[in-house]
Each structure stands twice: as C-alpha cells, then as structure tokens.
C-alpha cells in the first residue's frame, strides 16, 4: 500500500478529482497549503511596505491506495493538473505500512478503498 501526496494548483482540483474518479479512486483527503517553489509569487505592498509574496496558495491531496492503483493515480493527477507551466506541483509517494477503517476496524488492503 502507498500513501500518495500531491501538491497542485488550486484551480486544478476539480479536474484532478474528475480524473481520479474515472480511475475509480474515490477516496481522497484535501487541504489548503502554501507553497514555495520555482513559480514566482506577486509582491504584496501594504502602505508602501513590500512583502515578497513567495508563498502561493496550493492544494494538497492525500490518497492512500493499493499497489495496483499507484500508477493509475499518478497518471490521473498528472492528467488533471498538468499545464506545463511552473507551479504545476509535485507528487510524493510513501510506503503505507498499515491502514485501518475506523468504522469497521478492517485493516490492510480492504480498508483502503
């Protein structure tokens, strides 16, 4: 099992979700984050005081999947989020040792989906 973390552009969430559903990846956790990367931010100015606005709004996805779903999930995220512009984001894949569904206390692969 793997835990896939993806950082994407805020306005790409809908498309990524649609792509994921197509691949039958229906269970996801989403949160709002700020990212600093290659993409340049806009300088903010408050009463003359400049702030290098180097933190940009991004969306963070967290998706636990079984091995056979890893590649499809990655593909789906890329299909939904890729524009070719800097700022598209990243996907991180981690090993998932255990997964438990609280409602049923099931464990492992069948708890994932």
């Amino acid at each position: 099992m793997k835990l896939i973390i993806a950082i994407i552009q805020p306005d790409k969430l809908e498309e990524v979700k649609e792509e994921l559903y197509k691949k039958e990846v229906n269970l996801i956790t989403v949160s709002e984050v700020l990212g600093h990367g290659r993409q340049k931010g806009v300088t903010e100015i408050y009463r003359g005081a400049k702030e290098s606005g180097n933190l940009l709004r991004k969306i963070r996805l967290e998706i636990a999947v079984n091995e056979n779903f890893v590649e499809p999930t990655i593909k789906a995220i890329i299909n939904g989020a890729k524009t070719g512009e800097t700022g598209d984001g990243k996907i991180f894949v981690l090993d998932l040792k255990e997964c438990i569904r609280i409602r049923t206390e099931e464990r492992g692969s069948l708890a994932i989906g």
Binding site: V42, E44, L55
Partner: protein
C-alpha cells in the same frame, strides 16, 4: 425658506445613501472568491471617490442645470451658482447644495451596480475609464431627462420617484451588455464558485435595506407625509420580496436560503424605488411578492439557459426589478397617495402605464447602445479584460498587489 427639519432629513438621507455603496461593496464582495474580494471593494470605493469629484465639477450641472436638450448644460460647472439658498424648482425648503449632495450619492451607486457584471475579470484601468465615461454619457443625460428641469421624459409625465429607470434600469441593462461584451469567467463550468463569505453578503443586505430608507423616503426631499409613505412601502416591499424569494426556493429546491432571502430583499427594494412616492402599502406587498418571482426566474432559470455570465446578477436583479417597478408604478400609482403624482392603470388611467412603458424602453435602448459603444472604444485602446493568468491568480494580487486575508501569520 430653509426648513431645519427638512434639511436634517435630506442630510441624513444623503448619508444613508452614501452608506449604500459600502453596503453594496460587501453585498457583492461576499459573493466573489477570496482572491477577488478586494477588487470589488476597491471598485466600489474608487467610484465613490471619482464620482464625488465628477459630480461637483460637472456631473451635477450636466444632470440638473436647467435645459431642454440632451444634457442640463454647463451653467453649474464647479457648483457655480449652486449655493446654500433653496432652489425651488428642485426643493423649496432645503439649501440647494443639500439637494446636490443628496443626488451625488445616486450618481455614485448607479455605476457601482454594474460591477456585478464584470466582477472577477475586469482590468482596473479599463474599469476606471469606463465608470467615468458611463456616468457622464449614460447616467447624467438619463438623470436629466427624468428629473431635470426641462427634462423631456419628465415633461412626458413619466413617474420615477427615486430612480427605477434612472438608476436600476440604466445600470441593469448596462450590466447585461457588460456580461455579453466581456464574456464568461474562466473554467466556470468545472466549478461554479460559491460565495466566499455569505455573512458579508448579509451585512451588505442589512446596510442596503437601512440606506434605502434614505434613498426612497429621502426622495420626498422633506420630512413630511410623503416621506413617511415612501418609508413604509419601502420596508413593506423589501419584506414581501425577501419572503417570496425564500418561499420560491423552498418549493423549487427544497430549502430556503439566506442568500436567496437577501437577493429577494434587494429585489424588493429595487422594485419599490420608482413607486415609493406614488403607491400605498397593499400594492407594495404585491410589488414585492412579484418582483422576486421575476428576478428569481431571470437569475436561476433564464441566465443558466442563455449562459451569459452576469456574475453577481446585476442585470437579473436591478434591470428586471427596475422594469417591473417602473411598470408597477403605472399600475398602482394613485393620486390619493400623492396628489402631485398620477393615477395608474388600476386607478383608471391606462395612459400612465403606457408612459411608464415608453420611459422603460427609451432607457433600455439608450443605455444599452451607449454602454456597448463605450466598451468598444475602451477595448480598442486598452482592452477591458485581464489576462487569463491574472484571472486565475485573482485580481487582488494582480491588480492591487494585496491580499484580503492572511493565510499564515
């Protein structure tokens, strides 16, 4: 002779109408996405600044200086001859400048209504130029025709107590032209953006309702029975429309919403505006109840059907509501309420209804054409819409280099 009670009433009314534009700023601002909040507030407040100046410098003269033509002429440029003595043709018991500043607040809020149509995608520079030209070439003339000494629609006998045609129809149709001209916002289909802060929308609604007492009851230009009548029917129509919109949602979508009630309240205030000084309380209930039916249909059935992006429904609420209000004045007006007014269709005077209809058509025709021409010109020179990249990042950061809310601290 200046009457202190009337002057107090008109001054506070001017203050109330001034407060409506900040109210509108929050009403509109709460509907957009976080990233565009400040752009809406900025547009509203810059209009307050620019048009306050335009008005004292030449706007008031163009609108109200006596004259039979397209405009009121230049006699009162820079408020020359507009002093602290009453000018009886407009208001015999208050200083002339009191009437002037009261009218200034109407000139301010009218173009601000159009913001609802180009929200989240208009270039700030283009917006600024548009506003100034539109106010001068659309608002000022229409204002003169309907309210100015020698205005030809006035002479025609058209009734518009507080600005159904002058304010709401002119801005409302301008909004439709705007929406068609500037086009839809980016990826609107993948996700219809939800209002980022409905409590702000409600705050705006509260301030608008409050300010509208000055807008309508203040238009009596005296603290008298007429003002009281306008006050009462204004409150009644707002209430009736707010309830009716909520009930429509309840039947159609299963639940009434705060956003819907707020929309209805504003629609009710729009519809009663031209009628406030001519109709009594029972008709006001009908005017309010029906305006929500019309606006609700325009906003949640017609708009999606035709697909124009009147983003915050400036057309759907102000133009539709304004038309209904102007026509309703032709139906329900009664000399029993205001001897200086006229009787409407239901009081045996069908002619009034036709005159109202005519005034509506003229306003629609002139405002739509003029608005379109103004956009064409601006688009030619500097373009009206921000680049897609900026639209996605939001107007606050790209047009103003600031953020409405901090995320981390």
């Amino acid at each position: 002779m200046v009457n202190s009670g009337d002057t107090a009433w008109v001054l506070i009314s001017a203050g109330l109408v001034m407060l409506m534009t900040p109210g509108l700023a929050f009403f509109y601002g709460g509907m957009v996405r976080k990233k565009n909040m400040l752009s809406i507030l900025m547009q509203c407040f810059i209009i307050m600044c620019v048009l306050s100046l335009q008005w004292v410098l030449f706007g008031y003269s163009l609108s109200f200086a006596p004259g039979k033509g397209f405009w009121g002429g230049f006699a009162w440029l820079g408020l020359q001859g507009v002093g602290l003595e009453p000018y009886a043709d407009y208001a015999a018991t208050i200083p002339h400048q009191a009437f002037m500043i009261y009218q200034a607040m109407f000139a301010i809020i009218t173009p601000a209504l159009i913001i609802g149509a180009f929200a989240e995608r208009m270039k700030f520079s283009a917006f600024l130029i548009f506003t100034l030209i539109w106010a001068t070439f659309v608002y000022d003339p229409i204002c003169h025709w309907v309210w100015g000494v020698g205005g030809w629609l006035k002479n025609l006998g058209a009734l518009d107590f507080a600005g159904g045609t002058v304010v709401h129809i002119s801005a409302g149709i301008g909004a439709l032209v705007t929406a068609l001209f500037i086009g839809r916002r980016k990826n609107l289909d993948s996700n219809i953006p939800a209002p980022h802060n409905l409590p702000f929308v409600v705050l705006g609604t509260g301030l608008l309702w409050f300010g509208w007492f000055g807008f309508n009851a203040g238009s009596a230009l005296a603290a008298n029975g007429l003002a009281v009548n306008a006050f009462v029917v204004t409150n009644t129509s707002a209430a009736s429309a707010g309830l009716s919109w909520a009930l429509l949602e309840w039947f159609r979508n299963g639940k009434p919403t705060m956003f819907g009630a707020a929309s209805g309240i504003v629609a009710g205030l729009v519809a009663i505006t031209p009628a406030a000084g001519f109709v009594s309380v029972i008709p006001a209930i009908a005017i309010g109840a029906l305006v929500s039916l019309f606006c609700f249909t325009a906003v949640s059935i017609i708009k999606p059907k035709f697909g124009y992006d009147d983003s915050l429904d400036a057309f759907g609420v102000h133009c539709i509501g304004g038309i209904w209000g102007a026509l309703a004045t032709g139906l329900f007006a009664s000399k029993a309420v205001n001897p200086a007014g006229a009787d409407g269709l239901f009081f045996g005077n069908p002619k009034q209804f036709l005159v109202q209809g005519l005034a509506v058509l003229i306003t629609l025709a002139y405002a739509s054409i003029a608005t379109f021409i103004i956009y064409k010109l601006i688009d030619l020179f500097i373009g009206v819409r921000v680049p897609e990249k900026d639209e996605l990042m939001g107007l606050d950061l790209t047009q103003h280099h600031e953020r409405a809310y901090t995320v981390l601290e």
